[in-house]
């Protein structure tokens, strides 16, 4: 059974929601990423979304744009990110790792080669922001051949017809984008999200994680009560940015913040 399936199975049996923090590989420096990943797990992360930096992150707000710039200042590549997962897996074989990013670095790497290498280092799934299900057939097949899941976004604007296409192509979990906007934008409306999740659940049994606009324990708890997973990105990346010059403080702050989110959604 895949790590993601096991993870959501265990969480369901304990009636818990997955805490899914996001960080950008190589931010603030490639040699800190693996330590941050372990700290996230110690703080209560159930799944980690590891961002692949891209020069033109069109779907991201300023916080994650800057994280990509910091990572790219050290030339962090997709190859480097795979190396970080390999390093992480030396001591953590349980926590699922989802790579999240834009299509072009994967295109250049080559779909098949990427799927083989990602599976080899212990990646569990891929979320490619700018690859809609219509254009994903080849990528999904290559990933699936290696036992990797393909995670797709569903947005507030997604039509019912599109939801059917997306749930058919997706595996692992679905990622519901709670607001119209880029990452790190306005606060979300929990009741509107709840209504959408109900609609999506009519079409699928896949777990649904919710992201965009969750920035603190209060919003994490609110979303955690209706979703199967809670994704926290910009708020965490902001803490990394604020502590980029102090490795020890960075890990302490990241650990404390993660713990506060974990406590909130478990309470």
């Amino acid at each position: 059974m895949s790590r993601l399936k096991t993870c959501f199975g265990v969480l369901a049996s304990q009636n818990r929601t997955a805490l899914i923090p996001f960080l950008t590989a190589g931010d603030p420096h490639p040699n800190q990423t693996v330590d941050i990943m372990h700290t996230l797990v110690e703080g209560g992360a159930d799944i980690i979304e590891l961002g692949i930096p891209f020069s033109d992150p069109m779907a991201d707000g300023p916080v994650i744009q800057l994280a990509d710039e910091r990572a790219l200042a050290h030339n962090t590549s997709l190859t480097d990110a795979l190396g970080m997962v390999k390093e992480f897996r030396k001591t953590n074989t349980d926590t699922p790792v989802v790579l999240m990013g834009y299509l072009n670095p994967v295109e250049v790497y080559g779909y098949k080669r990427f799927a083989v290498d990602a599976a080899d280092v212990g990646v569990d799934a891929i979320l490619t922001v700018d690859l809609p299900p219509e254009a994903s057939e080849e990528m999904v097949r290559e990933l699936s051949d290696q036992g990797l899941d393909s995670i797709f976004l569903i947005a507030p604007t997604t039509t019912d017809a599109r939801i059917k296409k997306i749930v058919a192509a997706g595996s692992g979990y679905l990622y519901y984008v709670s607001v119209k906007g880029v990452t790190g934008s306005a606060s979300l409306d929990v009741s509107a999200v709840e209504a959408r999740l109900e609609t999506i659940r009519n079409s699928t049994d896949l777990p649904i994680a919710v992201g965009f606009g969750i920035k603190d324990p209060v919003s994490a708890k609110a979303v955690g009560s209706i979703a199967d997973g809670v994704v926290v990105g910009s708020a965490l990346v902001n803490i990394i940015a604020q502590n980029q010059d102090d490795k020890t403080a960075l890990l302490t702050q990241v650990g404390d913040f993660t713990q506060s989110l974990s406590d909130a959604i478990s309470a």
Binding site: S55, P62, Q65, Y102, P132, E134, A135, T158, K180, V182
Partner: protein
């Protein structure tokens, strides 16, 4: 599909927006519904007689079409080869070909009922053309422009503000056209319910490359008719500059079936393609995915987009419209590059010899046409798309000359 057509570059794109392996729709999920709606609207209106009549009337009465096809006799004689004709898009209202497309998209926007228009711009010509149609329709307008381009195109920035548009300076990334497009996409994803995004070139997610092409094809249709009237036949070659490639597609597309007509797209060679400081993805780039479409890009070995350079802000873009990528692979069009200094020389030459001040973008096409003309006999005909006028570039050229005109 049971067989490959003989001319696979005709009848493009397919239903999914693909030009061979290029094009498509690579955007985040939030925008997919808006693009599907736009596609359905355009499919309906593009064959609607009233819509076509309204577009043609605006092009005639507001833009001032048809634009002349002018025989640059003195310049042709001086070069000593083929006859060069200039398609005078510089004489359009707002001073460039860009307005053909913004008129068309503004009519689409009106049909959507959305109240707000956004656009990206490089040299500012598309921004001006968008602010112009927004003013005419009484719609709110915000333009995204790279901080570096705002510096070198101050005149157009002020024009946009006079037209009532808000100009947002984009300081991320390389602070040029590609970053302006990223920021416009971010705005659109946030305000998709009430905002219509007028993309300025034949790039972006489907259906933009198709609809922008269709609106710009008036250039080639007119040129074909005018050439037949003036010379009794078809031209032998067409030359146009290529940044995103909308003026080039507009000229080329109505001639794709005419095998005798050679097509030349001229990219910005910057300091020279061998220096790496240029904006010539078709000449030396590789296919990849950026801004919603698969196309030739300037990218590094890790798939990161690399900075471009051109003296002309309108060509300073690391990608290109997907139809150009397909025309290149099919061998139907040739893509070449002209360096900054060659373009500047052509800018001065046309101004002195013909009394026409061309945009620095169009000067790339002129420079290549001059080279090409010399290799052709005097009975041959070249049409160059003079896509815009050069008033906006006077500050840039004066600065290069070491003269302050502030």
């Amino acid at each position: 599909m049971s067989k490959t057509p003989k001319k696979p570059y005709l009848d493009t794109p397919d239903a999914l927006g693909n030009f061979g392996p290029y094009g498509g729709r690579f955007v985040s999920e939030t925008l997919m519904a808006a693009l599907e709606d736009l596609e359905a609207l355009y499919d309906r209106l593009s064959s609607d007689a009233d819509f076509i009549a309204e577009f043609d009337k605006d092009l005639a009465d507001y833009v001032g079409r048809p634009s002349p096809l002018y025989y640059a006799e003195r310049w042709s004689d001086k070069l000593g080869g083929a006859k060069i004709y200039l398609k005078r898009e510089d004489l359009n209202h707002t001073g460039a070909h860009k307005v053909n497309n913004t008129i068309g998209q503004a009519l689409l926007a009106k049909h959507t009922g959305k109240s707000r228009i956004i656009a990206e711009t490089g040299a500012g010509q598309h921004g001006v053309a968008t602010a112009t149609v927004a003013a005419r329709l009484g719609m709110d307008c915000e333009i995204f422009m790279g901080a570096e381009d705002i510096q070198r195109q101050a005149l157009n920035v002020y024009r946009m503000r006079l037209l009532g548009a808000k100009v947002n300076s984009v300081s991320s990334g390389t602070k040029t056209l590609k970053d302006a497009m990223n920021e416009a996409m971010r705005d659109w994803v946030t305000n998709v319910d009430d905002t219509f995004y007028i993309i300025g070139t034949v790039a972006g997610p489907h259906p933009y490359p198709k609809l922008v092409r269709d609106f710009q094809c008036v250039i080639g249709r007119e040129a074909k008719r005018q050439c037949q009237e003036q010379t009794g036949g078809l031209p032998d070659a067409l030359v146009a500059c290529v940044g995103g490639g909308s003026n080039a597609i507009g000229l080329f597309h109505p001639f794709l079936e005419d095998d005798s007509v050679e097509l030349y797209g001229v990219e910005a060679g910057g300091h020279g393609v061998e220096t790496g400081e240029h904006a010539a993805p078709l000449c030396v780039g590789k296919p990849g995915v950026l801004h919603g479409n698969r196309t030739y890009l300037m990218e590094d070995e890790n798939g990161q987009i690399i900075p471009t350079h051109s003296v002309s802000a309108g060509l300073d873009y690391p990608g290109v419209g997907p139809e150009h990528s397909w025309l290149k692979d099919c061998g139907r069009a040739n893509y070449v590059s002209i360096n900054d200094d060659e373009a500047l020389a052509a800018f001065r030459e046309l101004t002195l010899v013909e009394g026409i001040l061309p945009a620095l973008e169009s000067s790339h096409a002129l420079a290549y046409a001059a080279k090409l003309a010399k290799t052709m006999s005097k009975d041959k005909i070249i049409i160059v798309n003079l896509s815009g006028r050069g008033d906006k570039d006077i500050h840039t050229v004066a600065k290069i000359d070491g003269i302050s005109i502030d």
